[in-house]
Amino acid sequence: MAGGMDLGTGGKGGKKPLDMAINLVPFIDLMAVTIVFLIMTAVWTQLGRLQVSNSGQNASEEQQQQEQKLQPITLLVTEKEIKITVGGSQLDPLPITRDDKERIDVIKLVDKLKELKTQQPDQAAITLQTEDAVKYEDLVRLIDTCIGSQFPSVSVSPASQG
């Protein structure tokens, strides 16, 4: 006998069967309990966050000094267009167009932001001056676009303040 298994070399008596069945019942019990626990604690919606700020807040003195050397970039967001201001000069406004899902088409904005990033590679801050009538969905899309275009420090302020 090796490991409790009959190798067929034994005596004349009744041979034990060679095939052994593992008792799967405890394993199935464990699986069932685990599945119930995991389903109960599962998070079905994947949520993320976009962090926004007011201009200059929480920035260290060193960062503020560095930002002063760079030309600030501001996007004035209205319902119909986006006006980009770099330093004191205003660029051509980008008219807001929408896709079939009614989302803002950001291709032109992305191109413009990439261009600005190449001009000022150290610039990480951007300010969105938003009008009251702008929808939250559009604001989030623009913030998302700015972060995706390597401007991670996004500030949001009302348009009237600017």
Binding site: R49, Q51, D132, A133, V134, D144
Partner: protein, 192 residues
């Protein structure tokens, strides 16, 4: 006719009867084994899928059926913090009603006094709790804004201003994560 062993002998008609005839000898096993292998396979796949999607932090924001969150791809992981929910009809702070959107839209103030007061209370509770435990400087001022995608910036602006006035300056907009964003490839954070 050959030699038969002694015993009962039944006629032709009953020869194959299970009760009387040869059927008596051919017993079928009464215990039938159920093949559980496919079941175990399915369980294993299900467990692996659920473990892959398992979130140790749990559900940070309670999803409200009146709030349809916008989608974003360059997002960070949501932190546990007080949540201000803005639906099309009302503004809530951690489930408590703060005001109705129609009323808040009509007013021209920049802040929402009720929200500011509630947030100050929350901040005080947090600080008292941490002071009692001897933990200094634990307050980061994090707050999550969970707004419906159709809400106008006028309301969001008032909520943001109220949060900042109450000391909650670390404002984060809650969004639904869009798969395959650039942030997934290269993590970065949007900071003040």
């Amino acid at each position: 006719m050959g030699i038969q062993p002694p015993g009962k002998r039944y006629g032709k008609r009953l020869a194959h009867s299970k009760i009387f005839g040869h059927g008596l000898a051919g017993h079928k096993a009464t215990n039938a084994d159920l093949n559980v292998t496919p079941l175990v396979d399915m369980f294993v796949i299900l467990v692996l899928f659920l473990i892959a999607n398992f979130s140790a932090t749990g559900e940070i924001l309670a999803m409200n059926k009146d709030i349809q969150l916008p989608e974003a791809s360059n997002t960070d992981e949501l932190q546990l913090a007080p949540a201000v929910a803005i639906s099309k009809d009302e503004v809530l702070l951690s489930g408590m009603l703060i005001g109705r959107v129609d009323d808040l839209t009509r007013e021209d103030y920049l802040n929402i006094p009720a929200l500011e007061e509630k947030l100050r209370d929350l901040k005080k509770q947090f600080e008292d709790l941490h002071n009692a435990a001897g933990d200094q400087g634990g307050f980061k001022g994090d707050v999550n804004i969970q707004a419906d995608k159709k809400v106008t910036f006028k309301i969001v602006k008032r909520v943001m201003f109220s949060c900042a006035s109450a000391g909650y300056g670390n404002i984060a907009f809650a969004t639904l994560m869009q798969g395959g964003g650039e942030k997934d490839k290269k993590p970065e954070s949007a900071s003040r």
